[in-house]
């Protein structure tokens, strides 16, 4: 689905592709920094202490989430500056791309990168021989990973829109809500392999974020109805 999003909405406009790649880059840098922190913490601690390692991992995850949001904010600042530059250069005084589109593309960039990093090794291994869950782990590992990744990509997209909207209008509570949602989703993944605990809340949150972003972007219930009934 994310690839479909990319093909249909982003691949047409070169500016969007650049914003997408830059978004992916920012996510990557945030991941790099967070893994650096985690790595240092692990090296500095005792490798045989199981609960400590688990605790460090949880700490690493939380820290990474916070860093991701921080980088989203930095990216927002960069895009603001870029918009001003584009406006100055354009012919009729308005930018060729609006901040909402940028928010959407940035969200997709983040999402694609995080999804790719989560899934791609899994996919490569899935091509090879093997049995899923042979040691007593869940047999649904691949399926749930796929669903979780997909929901995470969508969530990143919606969070991008919400986050940028919050920054634009100085609604601090929107930004805080995005951060809290992200933390909640990551925390819910701690319930794995009890998949009910992680997938269901994530999907619920995604639906919430989707409607919120849709309303923010100017949609309404009438639009949906008209679209579904194929009215012109």
């Amino acid at each position: 689905p994310a690839l479909g999003l990319f093909l249909f909405t982003i691949a047409r406009d070169p500016l969007r592709i650049i914003i997408l790649i830059a978004g992916a880059f920012f996510w990557l840098v945030s991941l790099l920094l967070s893994s650096l922190i985690w790595f240092i913490a692990v090296k500095a601690s005792d490798p045989n202490d199981e609960p400590l390692q688990k605790g460090l991992l949880i700490f690493g995850v939380m820290f990474s989430v916070l860093l991701q949001e921080a980088f989203r904010f930095l990216y927002y600042k960069l895009l603001r500056k870029a918009i001003e530059g584009l406006v100055a250069l354009s012919e009729d005084g308005c930018s060729p791309i609006s901040i909402q589109q940028m928010a959407y593309v940035a969200g997709v960039g983040f999402g694609l990168m995080s999804g790719a990093f989560s899934m791609i090794n899994l996919l490569a291994d899935a091509l090879g021989p093997g049995t899923v869950g042979i040691y007593g782990d869940s047999q649904l590992y691949f399926l749930t990973s796929a669903f979780m990744t997909m929901v995470l990509i969508f969530l990143h997209t919606f969070w991008g829109i919400l986050f940028f909207h919050g920054c634009e209008n100085r609604c601090w509570w929107e930004i805080v809500a995005v951060v809290v949602m992200h933390l909640a989703v990551s925390a819910s993944s701690f319930c794995n392999p009890v998949y009910v605990g992680s997938l269901v809340p994530s999907y619920v949150l995604m639906a919430v974020a989707a409607t919120w972003a849709y309303l923010l972007s100017g949609g309404s219930a009438q639009n949906v109805r008209r679209f579904l009934l194929c009215k012109s």
Binding site: F25, L36, V61, L89, M113, I120, A124, L152
Partner: protein
Amino acid sequence: MITFMNNSDSEEEPCNERTSLMSAESPPVPSYQDGLQASEAGEAQTHRKRRTGSSRSPNNAANGSMSGSSIPVRESALENEEEELTLKYGAKHVIMLFVPVTLCMIVVVATIKSVRFYTEKNGQLIYTPFSEDTPSVGQRLLNSVLNTIVMISVIVVMTVFLVLLYKYRCYKFIHGWLILSSLMLLFLFTYIYLGEVLKTYNVAMDYPTLILIIWNFGAVGMICIHWKGPLQLQQAYLIMISALMALVFIKYLPEWSAWVILGAISIYDLMAVLCPKGPLRMLVETAQERNEPIFPALIYSSAMMWTVGMAKPDTAGRGPSQQMWDTAEDGRVNHRSPSHSNSEILETRSPGATHPVISLEELEEEERGVKLGLGDFIFYSVLVGKAAATASGDWNTTLACFVAILIGLCLTLLLLAVFKKALPALPISITFGLVFYFSTDNLVRPFMDTLASHQLYI
């Protein structure tokens, strides 16, 4: 075949080609930037013109720095108008470069992942005489540094040689050299590549069919690159050549030497293009002074077709953007020569091997193509291919390097628009790529592996 690579004198040609590729690679970057800047300047100019109707004088100054010696004045007029438009179309040019670079990398990574041949160590080139099989780390490091010094000096010698040839107008020699090296690439390397791919997938092919395929491929390639041909076909051939060359490098350069060479090449590129006495810069300026096109087969052009010896921008390849430019460009025939020189400068950077050069054609079209030296293609692909081959984190590292290189390319283009001079394309991207490769391999991979094993999501 393998021994061929190692020590025979018959390697001279390939070596030349390779080294020229190397040297060429450095230059391409600047050219790219020139082209881009030229287009950007042009766009900006047009934009400004439309908006304010201001005089051309400020643009002239801007243009002068951009195009270099001969054309500055004429170009600046054009440039002013086009500058603003250029920046708007800057994104389009960036994408025009993204696509071939991405394609080249995809081809290299796909081959590395599937064909075992290119990851086996079967000997080294004569350019890297020191072996890396030594027991101690210090010895290995020393050997790789020595290898790098040997390789870089070979490249410098070849570049200086090419510049001297160009200065003293030994065009026939240069053309003959280029033709020979592209001939070798197209036929020999393709033969090896095809053989290995067939072996991997266990497909049998008889010799007559093989000869037919390779002959057709090579002949059409020669025509496309050195003479006229459809733009897309020429671009495809240049991409394939770059990929083949990168695969050869990945196979035959020892591990640590490859990384050190990548770093050293970007530093060399930086110096060769920006220093006043740098060979590439001299090449570009000489070509500009003479208003001659840069050699074909060294540059990748996204919007132009080259004829042999004549950098004549082909408007046919320009596409839709031309319409916008055409109105502004009508009657600017006199700007033709400057644009040629511009494109040439870009391309001379990468003599020898195929450097995709980004040429800005200011001819009738406003649309300026972007040129990138083929050497840049090759080294980007070498970096990503090595990441795919040797990283234990597999796809994550490859993906990280890919994104890093693309971002480096964006930044380089941005700098090109700002500085309006030939700039080296290698340093920024390679630096980003190297940083991301090493950090992803060592830091991110354990983190992601642990996360994946617990199925946590960040």
